[in-house]
């Protein structure tokens, strides 16, 4: 499970204006949002669900959800890309877990994708140079560290579930998770500083 980087030339200029048009219910703004982020959202969801038909449905849900909730988004201070990805990930993980009868806590999901939470973030977090930085940072992790981050982000597994999946003690998994996050934080320190 190697991570190949998705090199994103995501243009964030004029994004505040785009969000305001979405808030005015301008459907063409949704077209612009889709043209900017559709590929990224689709790629993320497909990585999680591994089924193109399901991925298409979930991409549609993601954009409709954003369209329906954009009034709560701060056009000036918000970062729309990270919000879209959070909504997309929730839809995809929710689907994945529902197929094995393990529904997620909806309160927890709501708490991770509320539009107001994506204010004051760096707006160009999905730009090309940042993609290189995260790729480099992930490559520096040990194989186990990288695997737990992938299992958490792309498969929505809890630490207990990861321990089962990997056939490792829970304590070991927790150690890998903490070390991985600490390393990523350090490597990306300059990238994610506000």
């Amino acid at each position: 499970m190697t991570l190949l980087p998705l090199i994103m030339a995501v243009e964030v200029e004029g994004e505040a204006e785009l969000v305001k048009r979405l808030q005015r219910r301008d459907p063409q703004a949704l077209a612009a949002l889709y043209d900017r982020y559709g590929r990224l959202v689709y790629s993320l969801i497909l990585r999680v669900v591994r089924d193109t038909g399901v991925a298409e449905d979930l991409v549609q849900e993601t954009f409709l959800r954003v369209w329906n909730r954009v009034q709560g988004f701060d056009a000036e201070r918000g970062a729309v890309g990270p919000w879209l990805l959070a909504v997309a990930r929730n839809r995809a993980i929710d689907y994945l877990r529902s197929t094995v009868g393990k529904a997620r806590n909806s309160l927890e999901m709501e708490a991770t994708e509320h539009p107001a939470l994506f204010s004051d973030m760096e707006k160009d977090i999905l730009a090309t140079d940042k993609a290189r930085q995260i790729k480099a940072a992930l490559e520096k992790l040990s194989a186990h560290q990288r695997q737990v981050i992938e299992l958490a982000y792309f498969e929505g597994l809890s630490q207990t579930e990861m321990a089962e999946r990997m056939g490792q003690p829970l304590g070991t998994v927790k150690t890998w998770v903490r070390a991985a996050l600490k390393n990523l934080r350090n490597e990306l320190g300059t990238a994610v500083a506000i």
Binding site: L4, Y42, L46, L64, L85, S158, A191
Partner: protein, 253 residues
């Protein structure tokens, strides 16, 4: 816990890995507008977004863009009478209820009401809205063919099918109890020549209503009827039992 004690838990929280106690604490800090926690969570969300951006690049099919835009009224003119409401109000639960009521215009108000009621039971509203959006697009297509089923003295499943050559098949039914454990409903297109063609599996709701959309192109002129059978949960390549529903399409010479 104070913010210092929550250090190291923010990323876990964003990834859904935090313990219940820390999650609760973080939510409480957020509820009271703790700026330290807001900032730390912002960084954690950035990290998560960057991990998300490492998914292998894939290209969505062009039709997906059209589908998404159609669902918010970009192709309003083509979609007919409900589009203006749609465009102004956006897709809201209220407007869906209004559309269902307007569509049935008293013809089958009980069914419409059941559908509106059943909507309340659907946990994930967005999934339901997506489905209804597609349903209305099919209902309203100028080239959509319509047929009803289940008219009779007994209480068979009743309802209506809508078949659109470009968009697919919509089936709305009532009086169709949920398929028992290990079973599922399977829809079929019965062509004028040849074997029934499987058109997907669906389940009805506890109140006996079902709304099922099968997307894709349909050769309407080559199709005699839409049928539904009760099959084993995996579905079947050909019907194994007599159909519960047969909706004969109007003959189209």
């Amino acid at each position: 816990m104070n913010c210092d004690e929550l250090q190291g838990h923010y990323e876990l929280y964003v990834l859904g890995l935090a313990e219940e106690e820390e999650s609760r604490e973080i939510r409480q800090h957020l509820d009271r507008g703790c700026e330290v926690c807001m900032r730390e969570l912002g960084s954690a969300r950035e990290l998560a977004a960057m991990v998300g951006g490492t998914a292998v690049m894939a290209a969505p099919p062009p039709a997906l863009r059209r589908r998404i835009l159609a669902s918010v009224g970009v192709e309003a003119r083509r979609l007919g009478w409900w589009a203006p409401v749609w465009g102004v109000a956006g897709i809201t639960a209220l407007s869906v209820a209004v559309f269902v009521a307007l569509f049935f215009r008293g013809r089958e108000v009980d069914l419409a009401q059941q559908l509106v009621d059943s909507r309340e039971q659907v946990r994930n509203q967005t999934i339901e809205l997506t489905r209804l959006t597609e349903a209305f697009a099919i209902m309203n297509g100028p080239d959509t063919t319509e047929a009803s089923f289940g008219k009779g003295p007994q209480q068979p499943p009743k309802g209506r099918v809508f078949v659109n050559p470009a968009q697919g098949v919509l089936l709305i039914a009532s009086n169709l109890p949920p398929a028992p454990n290990g079973k599922t409903y399977e829809m079929w297109l019965l062509p004028k020549r040849g074997m029934p063609m499987p058109a997907g599996l669906f389940q009805s709701q506890t109140d006996g209503t079902a709304l099922y959309v099968r997307r894709g192109t349909v050769n309407v002129n080559g199709t005699n009827a839409v049928a539904v059978t009760l099959e084993n949960a995996a579905g079947a390549p050909q019907p194994t039992v007599q159909p519960l529903i047969v909706a004969a399409l109007p003959s189209n010479s």
